[in-house]
Amino acid sequence: MSVNALYDYKFESRDKVENFHGMQVLYIYWPHHLMFCSPVAVMVSPDMTFGDFLEQVLKPAFASHPDSAKADFVKAEWKLNDEPFTPVMSATMKDSGIDHKSMLTVTTPGLDGISGSGS
């Protein structure tokens, strides 16, 4: 469907990748750790390697959770935009198929949040 309007109603998307000055938005979701209220939104360079992203972006974002010390994110189960995904540490975001406003879901089996509550 489309919008009902009084005139030809067409506007640019406000969050197209060109508006982010060479960077792109990436969302990261760690299921069963709802102490972080929602997936987090970060900005990354398309040329950043996955290994750097893991060390410099993901781990600091989740560091305050008691499970984070026990989590092995390298051996975790990954999904990219709801599809199974195998990260290659040396590959860049672009080469890994991680485009603007993608969402990564990282599941760490056996870690179910504070007192197993999913928090």
Binding site: N4, L6, S13, D15, V17, F20, C37, M103
Partner: protein, 518 residues
């Protein structure tokens, strides 16, 4: 016109002062005078069928409103002269007012603008006059709310720049986008959105918590505002019901259009009310009732009866109503968790519930609180006690439509976030639910323009790239005064001194009152 009697009876007066304001144009086309009346596809065959049970005329309107105004301001003055702020239950209560003043009062002003605009677009004089009165009401509500709460601004932080914040602060984009969405729609959708879905179906869920909350917590200024607005609200609700019945009775082709609007605006209203749910369960030191109880009475029971009445027009209850009904056990806890962790970027304080409050929540939410939320809250309370008050130093993913961080969980599994994603014209879009995703799919051209605060910060449009600069320079939130944890805040210290307690006294949790840095 020749008037036979010197004094008109009410019926005649209404006829002369309202319906007689309309005329059939002769030298201009009706379409040119009312250009927005039919583009939404709504068919009106006979405007004379419009019913106005109040039959209020403008002269009587001014008289009533002026009398109410006089009484209201007399009470405001007395409240200020008697230092009424000292009689509230606890200074934590004022944080509910901060949320109201920045989140709700600007919506009253938006409603004024909305009714003034759409009222002009109806060729039926009955609807025009009803919209005109409501526009003036809403302007008055916006002003009287600000006057009711301005006294608190002299004594507490975070109330100083509501209009500026409303247009910028991350969580205030939620109420703002709700009204902007309605105001950028056509006149019939606006009335379905605001008069019917919000003022008729959901209004008690906003008004009762805040006004009863004020009464339960000794806030006489806000209570008095509530009484003063109540007779207006009765008229607004009547307009909401009348407009929906009128549209549905005019033409059967209107039914599917109205149903789509009801689905959309129920969902948008339900999402918006998450803020009220958390206010009710967490921000009122003296609780009125739980959010779940309020939802049961004011939506499930009252709404249920209403949609039974509308069945004969071919209208069914809103789509995803089952998801909303189930969410009553969760949303207030999810919303409070969110504000607790992003408290460094809010104009009000947050805190962890005290032991008795946790027990009240367990009792009110027997199936969810202990299982899903208490462990998280006890962990945060413990962290705080050990000097590590939790703040989330990342930014959240936002829903493209309701603009709330994607914090809600799946009905079938409350340990999993509800998240939907679609690709539209090569770009990915994210949503908190099927409800919001459907709204996007119906009108993608509208929502691709959404001003999402998180993305705006990342694009460099908010005067800084770090949260601290955005919060202070762009939001006008005074760091260390308006934001962060309540315990140990300037508000908390001021309250203790009002009550004659020392500010380094141990608080109820047995912690020393010192301000954590984020």
């Amino acid at each position: 016109m020749a008037i036979k009697n010197k004094k008109l009876n009410l019926k005649d007066k209404y006829q002369y002062l309202t319906r007689d304001m309309a005329w059939e144009p002769t030298y201009q086309k009706k379409k040119d005078i009312f250009p927005d009346e039919d583009f939404e596809g709504i068919k009106i065959t006979d405007w004379s069928q419009w019913e106005d049970p109040f039959r209020l005329t403008m002269d009587a309107y001014w008289k009533y409103q002026a009398e109410k105004e006089k009484k209201l301001y007399a009470i405001f003055d007395a409240f200020a002269q008697n230092n009424g702020h000292q009689n509230i239950s606890d200074a934590r209560y004022v944080n509910a007012l901060k949320l109201f003043l920045t989140g709700v009062s600007p919506l009253e002003h938006a409603a004024f603008q909305g009714y003034a605009r759409v009222g002009r677009q109806f060729s039926g004089a009955g609807a025009r006059v009803a919209c005109q009165m409501q526009a003036i009401d809403e302007l008055r509500h916006s002003q009287t709310q600000q006057h009711a709460m301005s006294h608190y601004n002299k004594h507490f932080n975070g109330l100083h720049d509501a209009a500026h914040m409303h247009d910028r602060v991350w969580f205030l984009s939620v109420p703002k986008s709700f009204f902007d969405d309605a105001r950028s729609a056509g006149p019939f959708e606006f009335l379905t959105a605001i008069s019917f879905s919000f003022e008729y179906v959901l209004t008690n869920l906003l008004f009762v918590p805040f006004m009863s909350g004020a009464a339960y917590n000794g806030d006489m200024a806000t209570v008095t505002f509530g009484f003063s607005a109540q007779s207006d609200e009765a008229r607004h609700m009547t307009l909401g019901l009348e407009v929906i019945k009128f549209i549905l009775e005019q033409h059967e082709d209107n039914v599917p259009i109205v149903q789509r609007w009801i689905d959309k605006w129920f969902w948008r209203g339900f999402r918006l009310l998450s803020l009220v749910g958390m206010m009710m369960d967490y921000m009122l030191p003296n609780k009125v009732m739980s959010w779940a109880e309020a939802w049961e009475v004011y939506y499930e029971q009252n709404g249920g009866a209403l949609f039974k009445d509308l069945e004969r027009y071919g209208i069914r209850p809103p789509k995803y109503q089952d998801i909303a009904n189930d969410a009553k056990h969760h949303v207030s806890h999810q919303a409070w968790s969110t504000f607790y962790q992003y408290s460094h970027a809010t104009n009000f304080h947050t805190w962890m519930p005290e032991k008795e409050e946790m027990d009240w929540l367990s009792q009110k939410y027997p199936d969810t609180f202990d299982r899903y939320y208490r462990p998280r809250f006890e962990h945060w309370a413990k962290e705080h006690a050990e000097g590590r008050r939790f703040y989330n130093n990342t930014l959240p993913q936002l829903c493209q439509v309701c603009q709330i961080p994607t914090i809600f969980t799946e009905k079938d599994d409350p340990t999993m976030l509800s998240h939907r994603q679609i690709v539209h014209e090569g770009e990915r879009f994210h949503f908190c639910s099927d409800g919001c995703c459907d709204i996007f799919k119906n009108e993608p051209e509208k929502y691709v323009q959404a001003w999402l605060p998180v993305h705006q910060i990342y694009q460099g449009n908010c005067e800084g790239s770090d949260v601290e600069t955005v919060v202070s320079k762009y939001y006008h939130i005074n760091i260390g005064e308006d934001n962060f944890e309540y315990i140990g805040s300037p508000d908390h210290k001021r309250w203790l001194s009002i009550k004659g307690k020392s500010s380094d006294a141990k608080d109820a949790k047995g912690e020393s009152a010192d301000q954590d840095a984020a």
